[in-house]
């Protein structure tokens, strides 16, 4: 295990201590629980947006709490859901009367806990709505979208719903724009190596050097196909062949592209990837607007990358472009 940590079981809490020490003006925690993180600036009357999920995916999830994005986030252990009670505490802390929207990824444990939290919050008189990120085309076939995993594309839901919420609109509108994003984003990933959960001490699976798994999930869920590692351009082509027809994305569409590094893959390679995406979309007559290239949803030191496409309209473009300022994401 090649990790700069102390005791594996204290990694998550020590990471959180580091985050509060580094960003005291931006985030704080509630209920005396480090894992219940909220923005230091909860705005009266604004719809609150909360998310949550397992640790090990920074900047996901808590990294997007801040101006123009999210208001609160619960994190669990590495790749483990936080609890419904923790979500309830965050919900209570960020509700200022306008209700709270949960945006999170479609994973069994998370769904159940957010459902439970929503019921509990409802019992306390807080209006809660939920929208799931479920855009990994490799995780279930078209027609069975409800079974799909949520991966890096959730960034777009945070960004756009967060921007609209900042305009002080009602919960229904924020929910509706989040649903629009969810409906218009698709992702596919490729993994070149596994990662190690600190408490486990060794990778839960292995990918041989010079091999890859296309469609693998960010916790190592099985993908579409394992095979020899081929040239980046061919990988991009194969991924776009799955992504483009799924929505479908068509000639004349405007899309934002998110090239997401899974952790160990250097930015140099992400740009090699983007180059081919740009080339290919341009051939298909699809116009790229405001691409994002970097690490947005990682699996610790996993090597690999994902491509997300978001189909845009004028409203989404405006919200995508609006400023944001969180400990892990800044846009002017």
């Amino acid at each position: 295990m090649r990790k700069l940590i102390n005791a594996p079981e204290s990694m998550v809490d020590e990471m959180l201590q580091g985050i509060y020490a580094a960003h005291p003006d931006q985030v704080r925690y509630v209920s005396g629980d480090l894992r219940c993180l909220v923005s230091a600036h909860v705005k009266k009357g604004k719809v609150g947006i909360a998310t949550g999920g397992g640790s090990g995916h920074l900047p996901l999830f808590l990294g997007y709490v801040g101006e123009g994005m999210l208001d609160g986030c619960c994190v669990g252990g590495v790749f483990q859901s936080p609890s419904a009670m923790q979500m309830l505490e965050v919900t209570k802390a960020i509700d200022s009367g306008a209700g709270v929207l949960y945006i999170y990824g479609n994973y069994g444990g998370d769904v159940m806990n957010f459902d439970m939290a929503a019921e509990m919050a409802g019992a306390e008189g807080i209006r809660v709505e939920q929208v799931l990120g479920a855009e990994d085309v490799a995780s279930a076939p078209k027609g069975n979208e409800g079974k799909r995993r949520g991966v890096a594309g959730i960034f777009y839901m945070y960004k756009i719903a967060g921007a609209l919420a900042a305009e002080m609109v009602a919960l229904e509108q924020v929910k509706s724009v989040a649903q629009t994003v969810a409906a218009n984003v698709r992702t596919m990933g490729v993994a070149l190596s596994a990662c190690t959960i600190p408490e486990a001490g060794k990778p839960t699976f292995e990918i041989e050097e010079e091999k890859m798994e296309i469609g693998m999930g960010i916790h190592g869920e099985p993908g579409v196909r394992k095979g020899p590692l081929v040239a980046a351009d061919r990988i991009v082509d194969e991924m776009l062949e799955s992504i483009l027809p799924d929505l479908p994305y068509q000639r004349g569409d405007e899309v934002s592209v998110l090239i997401n590094g899974l952790g160990a893959t250097p930015k140099e390679e992400l740009y090699v990837f983007f180059r081919r995406v740009a080339e290919s979309l341009s051939k298909s007559g699809i116009h790229i607007y405001h691409p994002y290239i970097g690490e947005f949803a990682t699996s610790m030191e996993m090597a690999g990358a994902s491509i997300s496409l978001l189909k845009l309209d004028a409203e989404l473009k405006r919200l995508l472009d609006s400023p944001a300022n969180t400990p892990f994401f800044v846009q002017r």
Binding site: S81, G109, P222
Partner: protein
């Protein structure tokens, strides 16, 4: 032979359940690793340790409150799929059993039905989905059919049914959770959650034997 489970009995059953999970820790880790993320042995030992502690600390005389406290303890300490499902089950039992001070076989049958209802509502799942339901459901039905039998006999039958449920689940195709990503490849593999359901039944059966 017991004819009624008192509050104290129920507390001891939670403690036994925690012991059983500890004993099966490695087996659950291995089962979950084969088709999931391999954490079930950790979450179940943690969750039931918390449930046992909550039960031990409960000083009232309301079985409903006792189950609720145990459920909340599991929800807070083991927020995995299985932990949350079991927590939801016990919390539902807590609602249904509110005010009760002791449980006969018929009440145990009702408890198992509520437990299952809580799980199915939370998991949006049904029998045949290759989950914990597939060991609990046969146990619940057996308890209901034997609701006039003494506790020991009824729970022994229920355990047998749960064990058969585990066997039957093996041939099913997973449609929920991480195992679902394996699709047809899940057929023929044991379901870790079904085994957890059986172990919970086992705690009751061993205690009342």
């Amino acid at each position: 032979m017991k004819a009624l489970l008192t509050i104290e009995d129920i507390k001891l059953i939670f403690i036994r359940c925690s012991e059983i999970m500890n004993k099966n820790r490695q087996a659950l880790l291995d089962l979950d690793a084969a088709c999931g993320d391999g954490d079930l042995g950790l979450t179940m030992t943690k969750g039931f340790a918390a449930a046992a502690a909550a039960a031990r600390n409960y000083s009232g005389n309301d079985a409903g409150k006792l189950f609720l406290a145990a459920g909340m303890a599991i929800a807070g300490s083991a927020p995995s799929t299985m932990g949350t499902l079991i927590a939801s089950g016990f919390m539902r039992v807590g609602k249904e059993a509110a005010g009760r001070e002791a449980m006969a076989t018929v009440d145990c049958a009702a408890m198992m039905i509520s437990f299952l209802d809580g799980i199915m509502a939370r998991g949006k799942s049904k029998p045949g989905d290759k989950t914990i339901i597939d060991s609990l459901m046969p146990a619940a039905e057996t308890l209901r059919q034997g609701e006039n039998k003494p506790l020991a006999e009824a729970w022994a039958d229920a355990l047998e049914a749960a064990e058969q449920g585990v066997e039957r689940a093996r041939g099913m195709r997973a449609v929920h959770g991480r195992a679902a990503y394996y699709g047809d490849a899940s057929i023929g593999k044991d379901d870790a959650g079904a085994r957890v359901g059986m172990l919970i039944v086992k705690a009751f059966a061993e205690y009342v034997a």
